[in-house]
Symmetry: C2
Subunit: 236 residues, 2 copies
DNA sequence: CAGTGGTCTAGACCACGGT
DNA sequence: CCGTGGTCTAGACCACTGT
């Protein structure tokens, strides 16, 4: 039983693939210039814009470098960009065949610790809503989430029953963000997270941290800590 | 002193930004359909292909969903894709103002452990070149790398002086890959890595694992372990 | 079937940036 | 200066898919 790619691409994808082949076969050497768009359009018997589309895709993944007048060259160091799907926790859990559930562990309004407020660019002691939640798969801890919300940027959230609606779901529906930053790291489980995730203190956990802004105002900082062993994979 | 974005985009980027604005201002509601391309082309007074280009970009970052006949809709869950730059270690170190250096710690040819060969889809006990290297910033450990190379797929590597040329550099220059997989995770430092990185055993380290194939043949499996505290950030 | 996005074309103008 | 990529256009055909 075969999988799925029996149909060879046509159009601009065929041109992209042919260019890819020439790079991989070293017919076009790393660091060397490749023919210009007009030339390739003639070779492939298509319009220049079709070639442009194909090469633009290759440039987008860092395989070639393009500059006006200088032309296009095969990048000397490929493998430079990777795109990850940022999972919607519920979907991720269900995709793995688990039953999703989530629990609100804590909800406090008060001055945020400096670590949080400074990450968000707010003055020390700024009043924020602090939330802790646990996401479960088949009743077992899957991911622990600690979040600070700036009530100035998201006023309505103070009236929401966050035990029923996840803060994330409410925020994406009600407070559009204009800019965000995502950071991945590894950390040792501290007491809180170890207890929540049911693992030993100090165990290595995979962390995903996000900050979002609306205009210049920081909206939320969320740190998601996955149960030990979590992996994030993508094709390159 | 201002930074750099005083010039508002024009052309398709202007249309993309206007669409973005309508989404963020909830003028186009989450989950709701947006006008079709022809309609928008009229609104903006441009060709349909220009609108197409703009919306395609938004679809690429997961902000809208497009289906023939059904039209385009604002995605219910944004924040779904993030693109990371995969660092070239030397550049990364130098960009942080460090002096780059690397040391080959070990080089062995022999049967690979099952953990490695099975990850690569090779039979247990397959003959492989095993390498361990340490990348340094200003003489201090920055990243530890353990690698298995399949000599069947990359024969020339057995004759290379890998203390001078990094295996990665040699491979990208000499063995094109056709497919790759990248995995991020957190792990506890084992004895080997703790010693190499100069940290305590069990400390949490950020790991990046890559496997590449040429055709159906696996070329290399590399596990890169960063010194504690490493973070990988991107804008979303 | 019919509406929508996906793509291609031939031609054009322009911005950038080597020379 | 002038070659190259970046973009736009108007029109066309097609593939997919909801009805």
């Amino acid at each position: 039983m075969r999988s799925d790619p029996p149909t060879p691409p046509t159009g601009w994808q065929a041109i992209r693939d042919e260019a890819l082949r020439r790079i991989q076969s070293r017919e076009w050497q790393a660091g060397a210039p490749i023919p210009n768009e007009a030339e390739l359009a003639m070779q492939f018997g298509c319009a220049r814009s079709t070639v442009n589309r194909a090469l633009r895709e290759l440039a987008a993944i860092g395989l070639i470098e393009r500059r006006r007048k200088a032309g296009s060259r095969v990048a000397r160091h490929p493998l430079r960009k990777a795109t990850f799907e940022i999972p919607i926790i519920q979907h991720e859990v269900e995709a793995r065949g688990g039953r999703y559930d989530f629990t609100l562990i804590a909800r406090n309004l008060g001055p945020a610790p400096v670590a949080a407020s400074s990450r968000m660019g707010l003055p020390a002691g700024a009043e924020m809503l602090h939330l802790q939640a646990l996401h479960l798969s088949d009743g077992r801890p899957y991911m622990h989430e600690t979040r600070w919300v700036n009530p100035v940027a998201a006023p309505g959230i103070l009236d929401v029953d966050l035990a029923r609606v996840s803060a994330n779901a409410w925020l994406v529906q009600n407070v559009p963000y204009t800019r965000g930053e995502l950071t991945l790291s590894a950390a040792a489980a501290d007491g809180t997270r170890a207890e929540a995730l049911g693992c030993a203190q100090g165990e290595a956990i995979f962390c995903m941290e996000r900050i979002t802004w609306i205009g210049e105002a920081p909206v939320t900082l969320v740190i998601q800590s996955y149960a030990p062993g979590h992996r994030m994979t993508t094709a390159i």
